[in-house]
């Protein structure tokens, strides 16, 4: 994967993760143009786009667009599933996730994304492992443990 962007229906960026080295200027340009292109698509249309020399896969969940750019040889359908899996992870963590959750806790959204996709490749194919780490956080949190657990080791 080359990059993933999350943006609202008004075109406001909520999350951006780039897996290829690009200058800031280029990133801004791509973001701006791509957001416009995707927002212009009608609801019944294909989830795949060929934009410039990239393949774009996008899906809308409620008010948020998830948009990924993939390489030529990558499988478009599986990228849709990558997006879906990420949404499932977010949903499980936040409990019926909504856009507000992602806005106000975007650093956590990044942490979950980094645990799932590393360097643009799917890292963990077992949902249980990723979620267990995150679920137990709440248990630990309730038990009032807020110190670094170095002592456990």
């Amino acid at each position: 994967m080359q990059f993933m962007l999350l943006f609202s229906r008004q075109g406001k960026l909520r999350l951006q993760k780039w897996y290829v080295p690009l200058s800031d200027k280029e990133k801004k340009k791509i973001t701006r143009e791509l957001v416009q292109t995707v927002l212009a698509r009608k609801p019944k249309m294909c989830s795949f786009l060929e934009w410039r020399d990239l393949k774009i896969v996008y899906k809308r969940y409620a008010s948020l667009y998830f948009c990924c750019a993939i390489e030529d040889q990558d499988n478009e359908l599986i990228t849709l599933e990558i997006i879906h899996r990420y949404v499932e992870l977010l949903d499980k963590y936040f409990g019926s996730v909504c856009e507000l959750d992602i806005i106000f806790n975007f650093e956590k959204a990044y942490f979950i994304l980094d645990e799932f996709l590393l360097g643009g490749e799917v890292q963990e194919t077992s949902k249980k492992n990723v979620l267990k780490a995150i679920e137990q956080a709440d248990l630990l949190q309730e038990s009032g443990e807020s110190r670094s657990p170095i002592s456990i080791l």
Binding site: M45, L49, F94, F104, G119, L139, E142, P149
Partner: protein, 523 residues
């Protein structure tokens, strides 16, 4: 994962909600009162971009003061960092904060460190001068007894790391390949994958260790090694033919449901793993009958097993079909694959239709009859409301153009061209039309007309070769003298007519062509 690692890893997200007293969804509400929450709400309340700029600049100046102040605690620094990331995401420059991100990763406790690393991965890029400062922190964390810190260090290495400093961390990471914890081994493999991408010669000597990773008892580690293998095989497939058997065996086990149930995604066993393996097999079997023969069984099995009506099953099917067509052909498999493509193309689901068309485009060289079978559907797709489907259909038609259908196909392409605004598409399509016109033009008049249309739409963005070739063609002509004369005559006449028309704007290249033709060929 063992209990200990679980506890350490899970304590980490727990620290996120340090400031609040409840966890989970309720914690979200509490974060409304955080500084970030205040900033976000402030921005949402504004109506104009100008006001937003003002507010953010204010925020940035106050952040700048806070991060430079000696009294700022690491906890406060973490809070500032989050807001800096947010501002940068909205497009404002916060480069004064970069050095503090590195410091935060260096000095902070677990959560602060994690935010620091996150900020670094988002702010900096591969060639940034500050990146070198990160290396010491990474080295230290890789050697830490705290597994969470090791994980964080491995994660950041996989995302961004200066190439020149690879030798400094390479031995430490190699070491981690033998770690007892699956998560560490897995992340170490991915870090090495990153090194392979940016500096392949530096990891030459550890290919043996990759083989060990491939045979690792934990699926996650094995899956991670596939990313490296895919790249290596892409560059040099002959070097890895001996591994074909292993890949086939793994795929057989996955498809046969031998993996632990947690690796299922909507009842499909490890789809990403399957797809990665299919791609690797496709590369290994290309033009190689003996190797391909090893795979026929498992490919047949995969095609058969993909029965569920779920997107992910279709994804696997598509990849399977792709592989079947890439390797040394076997007729039964090809038949089954062709049926699959047929189902895709006829599917009412628009995504599948798109993929069906794409697959047809791919196989058209090997099996032109397949496209003929579905020609009705293809013709329907030409008038599909979705421009992407239309474009894909045109792409397909471009490949099956011949002297009989060229007129219709080019006409459709020109129609599409008139509607399209995107430069990239115009350049691409114009090139194709010019090529087809030259190859299959049924008569001179049509050829000139088409080229004129191409020039007026393609205008100044098209490739300079197109008008150049055209002019050369007119100048050198064909073997038949009378043909040449007719062609040139027609060209000259048509241009004179066009130039006579008033109030019409022609792109510059077109004008050049017209003036050259009229000047050098008219008599």
């Amino acid at each position: 994962m063992s209990d200990i690692v679980e506890k350490t890893l899970t304590a980490l997200p727990g620290l996120f909600l340090q400031n609040q007293s409840v966890g989970g969804p309720a914690g979200v509400k509490a974060s409304f009162s955080s500084r970030l929450g205040g900033l976000v709400r402030g921005i949402t309340a504004l109506t104009s971009k100008h006001e937003e700029e003002k507010l953010i600049q204010q925020e940035l100046s106050s952040l700048k003061a806070t991060v430079s102040a000696p009294t700022t605690t690491l906890k406060m620094m973490k809070e500032c960092m989050v807001r800096l990331i947010y501002c940068e995401m909205l497009g404002y420059d916060a480069s004064f904060g970069y050095i503090h991100a590195i410091k935060l990763a260096q000095q902070g406790n677990l959560l602060e460190k994690r935010v620091g690393y996150l900020a670094v991965s988002l702010f900096l890029h591969e060639n940034h001068e500050l990146l070198l400062l990160l290396v010491n922190t990474v080295v230290k964390d890789l050697q830490s007894t705290n597994l969470v810190e090791v994980c964080m260090a491995l994660t950041i290495v996989s995302q961004i790391f200066p190439r020149e400093m690879i030798p400094a961390v390479l031995p430490l990471i190699e070491d981690k390949l033998q770690h007892s914890k699956e998560i560490i081994r897995r992340k170490a493999v991915l870090a090495l994958y990153k090194f392979y991408l940016i500096a392949p010669n530096q990891v030459q000597h550890i290919h043996i260790k990759f083989r060990k990773a491939l045979c690792d008892r934990d699926v996650g580690v094995m899956a991670a090694s596939l990313h490296i293998y895919f790249r290596m095989i892409k560059e040099n497939s002959s070097g890895y033919k001996d591994l074909t058997g292993s890949f086939v065996t793994i795929l057989k086990q996955v498809v046969g449901g031998k993996l632990p149930v947690d690796f299922n995604y909507h009842s499909v066993p490890a789809p990403w793993l399957q797809i990665q393996l299919l791609r690797i097999l496709g590369l290994l079997g290309k033009d190689d009958q003996r190797t391909s023969e090893l795979m026929y069984d498992v490919l047949d099995e995969s095609l058969r097993r993909a029965e569920l009506n779920h997107n992910v099953t279709y994804a696997i099917l598509f990849e399977c079909v792709h592989t079947v067509y890439s390797i040394y052909p076997k007729s039964e498999l090809l038949e089954k694959a062709a049926k699959c493509i047929g189902k895709f193309v006829l599917s009412p689901k628009i995504n599948l239709k798109y993929l069906g068309l794409k697959a047809l485009t791919y196989v058209i060289q090997q099996d032109p009859t397949l496209a003929l079978q579905h020609q009705m559907t293809i013709i329907e797709c030409l008038d599909h409301p979705d421009p992407i489907i239309k474009r894909e259909t045109l792409e397909l038609l471009y490949r099956i153009t011949n002297a009989q259908n060229v007129i219709v196909i080019v006409q459709k392409m020109l129609e599409y061209l008139h509607q399209s605004k995107e430069e990239y598409i115009i350049v691409n399509l114009v090139g194709k039309i010019a090529e087809l016109a030259e190859k299959y033009a049924p008569d001179n008049a049509w050829f000139i007309q088409t080229m004129n249309a191409v020039f007026s739409v393609g205008g100044d963005v098209m490739h300079p070769d197109i008008p150049n070739n055209f002019m050369r063609l007119l100048a050198e002509g064909f073997d038949d003298e009378t043909e040449d004369q007719q062609l040139r005559l027609y060209a000259v006449q048509s241009y004179l007519t066009l130039l006579d028309v008033e109030n019409v704007f022609y792109p510059q290249k077109f004008l050049q062509v017209m003036s050259w033709v009229d000047a050098s060929l008219s008599f």
